[in-house]
Symmetry: C2
Amino acid sequence: MSTPQHRPRVIIIGGGFAGLSAARGLASTPCDITLLDRRNHHLFQPLLYQVATAALSPAQIAAPIRRILRSQRNATVLLADVSSIDPQTRVVKIKPAPGDAAADEQSLPYDHLVLAAGVTHSYFGRDDWADLAPGLKSVEDATAIRAKFLIAFEAAERATDPYERRYHLTFIVVGGGPTGVELAGAMAEIARSILTSEFRSIKTETARVILVEANERVLSTYPADLSDRAKRDLESLGVQVLTSSRVTHIDPRGVEIRIARAPDLPANAPDPEPLRVDAATVVWAAGVKASPLAASLGVPLDKAGRVLVNADLSIPNHPEIFVAGDLASVMQHSAPSKPVPGVAPAAMQMGRHVARVIRAELVALSQGQSPPPRPPFVYTNKGELATIGRNKAVGVLGFGLNFPFAGFFAWLFWALVHVTYLIGFRNRLLVMFDWVWSYVFFSRGARLITTDQHDRAAPPQAR
Amino acid sequence: MSTPQHRPRVIIIGGGFAGLSAARGLASTPCDITLLDRRNHHLFQPLLYQVATAALSPAQIAAPIRRILRSQRNATVLLADVSSIDPQTRVVKIKPAPGDAAADEQSLPYDHLVLAAGVTHSYFGRDDWADLAPGLKSVEDATAIRAKFLIAFEAAERATDPYERRYHLTFIVVGGGPTGVELAGAMAEIARSILTSEFRSIKTETARVILVEANERVLSTYPADLSDRAKRDLESLGVQVLTSSRVTHIDPRGVEIRIARAPDLPANAPDPEPLRVDAATVVWAAGVKASPLAASLGVPLDKAGRVLVNADLSIPNHPEIFVAGDLASVMQHSAPSKPVPGVAPAAMQMGRHVARVIRAELVALSQGQSPPPRPPFVYTNKGELATIGRNKAVGVLGFGLNFPFAGFFAWLFWALVHVTYLIGFRNRLLVMFDWVWSYVFFSRGARLITTDQHDRAAPPQAR
């Protein structure tokens, strides 16, 4: 790397767990950091399903990135949509600001680049399903799912035809990972406890929630007995869990599900017919694909489009470019056959690792020394946790212990861990308050249908 | 009125202050109530400007209507968009439910109808201004204004040209009633205190907030000395207050303001040239117009489209139809030249009045007696209150006292009154918490830019 004649410039793309951790890790390093994000807020994704199910308000799990970094004088935050990266000329190109008269792209030069632009949901080539089965990655996604979910009960209450009522009260969740399990559990619970007293024509507890998972079991990265426990817990809430099953078709009236062949079916027997389920609400919680920015680096990607990084998280032939967070495809240092999972703790650890490497090199550089050798990224697995509903969760304690646990204790532990990792003392207090309130009073604090499906020009019905 | 052979059916259109008060007032009356609203939530409009200025989350000032009425067994709540009312056949027609296969309108018959559908903002015939200068009536309006307001600072931070920076940091509020005064005050305050430490290229305190009011003074329904006080308070926060001024043109780059002729200008002098102000953000807080449902009643309307009701709030020739809330145009019983104002307390009083009248008649009917004479609606003016900023408010205590007050005491009183009238103990606690927190830590809890202007299909930049 050439010695820059100016103060070193570090650009970080993405204000999620990885990007923020990298920025904070460089707080006392003599460099100018520019953090770019398309959103003005850092989002605590692990609790996003609670916004989608009306338990929390968006602002409770989001914090303005520039507020988080306001005291870090070497960091500048820009709301900017990155259009591409040019590793040869070492610039990041950003789209013009909204409403800006100057319609040209801006180019921002860097000495070090940290790409932490994350992933979005993948429809496995069926992008036409995006409108029919919204995924859950942003605040807007969450409020759109919330509106769809709440409108379903409203439409059922109005429906005069029993078939229509059934259609509105059927909810399909595609994907049995943590997000799908948590969504399905929360939906069933709300229908069975919170809403029951509020409707006159329908019995909300007859709502049908179907969780469809392609693998043999839900939470497939967890130990098998915890997957079984999660399935039983979901079923006790009334969720129908279909494993080894795939959604093969989605239209506005419902889905087709192909259920796996029974193991005792003779080899020459035909595949079972796909199951048709009419449902007003389909939610997508299956599969991820990388930010398209990964492709502009010009280096090998994995099949989800993530960047195959070196052991130190830099990319081949460009030691000045790092990829951190969900966008990085890297194997665990201690178990080279297991990938580092796309979870918040891994992203934070990657961000801190990258900051340490950059810091060590900039310090050496400023002292006229040659940069120290780069250590590889070592992932510390702290464990996994997923909640299913009231008093119900499953988890594995990490740190090499691999201790599985479930039930009330796991649920309480889940709540504590998530509150601890939330950014901002105020948000921690408010989320705890809402959880205790919901637990005691069986209510949900954010049951708002707000959607641009409404005609904004028409008047509201009351002041 | 003919004696119905069934249990009397009361339809209430609108779940605002008037509609909800009417429904609650009929709780122990033997009748079947159906409350219709386009939204699933009752909205506490007086605090909506706090959502627009990122102080509160939407869910804190909204409550699901069916949750509010869940224990009232004679009340059914339907999420429904009313298309028209037919007073001759006594039916309300509602549009099909969202996503409903049956595309026909439904007809709901009534014996008594309470129309409480409210008002929306009026652009005085310039409906093309709606996109350029959003008004503030719904949650979606508030989050859209919040996004525009916050994006302006982000765009200014990115701008390289001083003119562009100025354009982004100029905010126009059209209308100097309570909403306009409160919006302008909050915007100036945020720019001058909360955001200052978070930006690197701009000084947020140089932001320019201009309040444009057509009348000679802001808060024109208040006593003149309070208007002066409010103007001084606004100016001390840095707001430029232009009274006797009108916005005559709006385009994406700004507005034209026609300022009144100076009183000492000779009669033959030409009018002053309109003032051109370039501004990225224009907010509309001027003028109201009635829900178009008023017109379907076929009775005389005032020039804003409100229904000219009888003294008992029924409409001419249809004693079974009442209009309550902002949509009713009626003079004060004690001061027949003064209209009942379009404020929340008046709406609640009207709703309760209508419920009392209906109840008395239904009770008489069920006992085979002739209905008692209807009392006129008597408005009790409890006073007026508007807040300008931290420790700053103006108000008049009503109840016949007409006692004006201002400053810290008025501000505290404003907060107490608003928290008291919020629906739900949980919301009261949370709003108080957020106010105390903002007061102590000079922060705003809900600084989220969420907008469908973002391309929903593009991936978020971080997980």
